[in-house]
Symmetry: C2
Subunit: 434 residues, 2 copies
């Protein structure tokens, strides 16, 4: 194998998670230590940063700050939701990407995201192959939705699962504190897959669970919902804890949240903007019962709750980043890093490669046999699956009692930073004179 | 001083916090170790438990579980919102309380709650004095609202402040991840006082703060709100983080949340049930701008987020419980434990006693001079005040990656527990035979 020397670039894409930056840390630290990688770059806002030549020079970052990325939520180099057109439809963006890659001699392209991002990575990889530009393209999985196929699970999911389970336990202690009835509806993220909502099952395992869990895999019926709630009101002295996925849909295909008339936006991939499901369910229950109903809608708080990240998740996300660099250096291309659970009693995983094309447009939902449709709950299989993933804590060091997140310099390669430095020196000079 | 030997009872009252059980731990552990306290009881659901003679025997609890109360949120012995009638209006409840206290020889009554609970404690104390029943009544402060007067701050508040500041920091990283505009509205708890909402100022101190903070101390104007938001949209490239107190009111005195027609319940003290403020503000902004607006409504998640409790708060709550026992044993009565900040550079407090009558019906709001009305923000004075309170972490040990909260036996003193034990033995017997 002929050695390929060249620069590496990482892009972050799609919705944030608690650990997407842990993968970035893995990529940066591994790449900076490899002699065949001539320079390490990061694209500002994913593919948009490449198109606009807004590229950060990672070689100029402090290693201490890169280490802090492990426990910094969201996407430090900026994310994007941007769908490339098909090459045949419009080649201009692909040609622009090639131009920028050539300019910086980028030979390794890593893209960290969910299904749509893997599709982007796949398209670029195919374009490079067809145009004989030597560049190794590897996807790094990321999504709280845990809906990427062919991988046991996805970085980011476990931390949301831990957050939801912990929060449900705390909310249950809170909501059952009075000897009066109370209904709580917690809205979990998850557009088409119920993995996040199912995490509430872990709380039940610890004796402080939800009574009812609704996931998008099952068509939602308000009649069934009211039957379920009425039954639980009787069983539990009027205290009912409900978890509903933001993506539950009624029979005609509309999201429950769409029944909330003040909403209806779509994101730039054309997905409906979720949120408001719990409010709609709460309004419905208020029309049915006089029991007090509270909806808990933490929304994006749950996906960026790095203060409650799973240590397993942080480490796996970091290692996924490192493994992606190794795959690329082995001149593999058009693959996504995946996790394969080893069939052992003590949990451990193997890092594998999955063809991007396979993963790009597939979607992994909750296994139907794990959904207890009649009880509106989740089976114990989910506990065996998920519990190993949420072990351990790993969070940012405290500074003033608050998290000390990474502070990157984010120096742009196109020269603008030189001007900034000049201005700083200039101001300092004035200050001294004054 | 003649020694008073007798039993002690603790009641928990009002809304949960992350650390109300830490105060209970302080009370129980201190009281169990004192020879003049003949027995330690806990009232199930506060004053209701006394009226109904639903009383737990704390002497039978494991000390390990009592220690775990320090890091268990909400109110383990059950809380209540119950307002005693005036004695002159209806003495029956007072006579019933006296009857129960005499039956168990209760000479020390500790009541842990907010303003309304201090009022209850004060009424009972006065009734005992007038009827020459020797019983020492001490209130232990508790409220996330931080609105108790004559004390520097209140246990429970600091942990919410830490939760809100941390969450805003994480949400800011999340919400600013795209290069597209986004408005976030976080709804903070706080009925009449803006302490909780103001905590977002701490996040600003760490460079990841809210842009606008609305507190109930200032009448809310939708016109001013839109002016503020429009200005921030221009300044911050369309990215705006807003924190609003659930208790903000418009000029005619209505809560903003009341403009949400699906609501309108009141709690049993006659307070309007809060929540929904962020939804109303989000709907309003959606009518004004095409920028995506997300409302974050963690509701009771914030007040019971023991996984993010402040260590200072946990320790102070615990010590407040211990101090209450000491005051009672010193035969002080009709006081609440309070905190006085020592005028030193390094933060420390002195535990003091405050007449219950003073504290019962007063309410401590945010100092008006700390509110930057024009900027819709909070001054740096708040940072100096609040930062020392949120230092350090202290949370429940992990078991299966999830918090191991206290599990009390909660054995009722009225004899029912004997039946339960019998049934357990009986079932076990059957099992062995089967």
């Amino acid at each position: 194998m002929k050695i390929c020397k060249g620069a590496m670039i990482l892009g972050q894409s799609g919705g944030p998670t608690s650990v997407i930056n842990a993968s970035a840390a893995g990529v940066f630290i591994e790449a900076l230590n490899n002699e065949n990688i001539t320079h390490v770059y990061a694209a500002s806002h994913g593919i948009k940063g490449i198109l606009n030549e807004e590229i950060f020079d990672i070689n100029q970052e402090d290693i201490k700050e890169l280490e802090l990325l492990k426990t910094t939520p969201s996407s430090s180099i900026g994310s994007v939701r941007y769908k490339l057109k098909d090459y045949k439809e419009d080649p201009s963006e692909y040609l622009r990407i090639l131009e920028v890659f050539k300019k910086y001699d980028i030979r390794y392209f890593l893209y960290n995201g969910g299904n749509d991002s893997m599709d982007t990575c796949n398209k670029i990889s195919k374009f490079f192959k067809e145009n004989s530009y030597e560049c190794y393209c590897i996807g790094i999985p990321k999504t709280i939705d845990n809906d990427l196929a062919f991988t046991d699970h996805t970085p980011g999911f476990a931390s949301v699962a831990k957050y939801i389970a912990t929060t449900i336990m705390e909310a249950k202690l809170d909501a059952t504190v009075y000897d009066t009835p109370m209904i709580i509806i917690f809205e979990a993220m998850g557009r088409n897959a119920g993995w996040c909502a199912a995490s509430a099952k872990l709380a039940e395992y610890k004796g402080l669970g939800a009574d009812l869990i609704y996931v998008p895999e099952i068509t939602f019926s308000f009649d069934k919902f009211w039957q379920d709630v009425e039954k639980k009101i009787k069983e539990n002295n009027g205290k009912v804890i409900i978890v509903a996925s933001e993506g539950i849909k009624i029979e005609d295909g509309r999201y429950v949240s769409e029944l909330n008339e003040s909403r209806g936006e779509k994101d730039s991939f054309g997905h409906a903007q979720m949120g408001g499901t719990a409010s709609v369910l709460a309004s419905f229950l208020r029309s049915k019962t006089k029991i007090k109903v509270r909806s808990l809608e933490p929304s994006l708080i749950q996906r960026s709750a790095a203060h409650l990240a799973s240590k397993v998740d942080v480490i796996e996300a970091y290692e996924a980043g490192r493994f992606a660099v190794k795959l690329a250096l082995n001149q593999e291309t058009d693959y996504m890093v995946g996790f394969k659970r080893k069939p052992k009693e003590i949990y451990s995983i193997e890092y594998i490669k999955i063809p991007l094309e396979d993963v790009a447009n597939a979607e992994k939902k909750l296994p139907l046999e794990w959904i207890l449709k009649e009880e509106s709950n989740i089976s114990d299989d989910f506990i065996s699956y998920c519990l190993p993933l949420i072990q351990g804590d790993m969070k940012a060091p405290l500074e003033d009692g608050l998290p000390r997140f990474a502070k990157l310099k984010k120096i742009l390669v196109n020269g603008n930073w030189r001007l900034s430095v000049f201005i700083i020196f200039f101001s300092k000079d004035i200050e001294t004179k004054g």
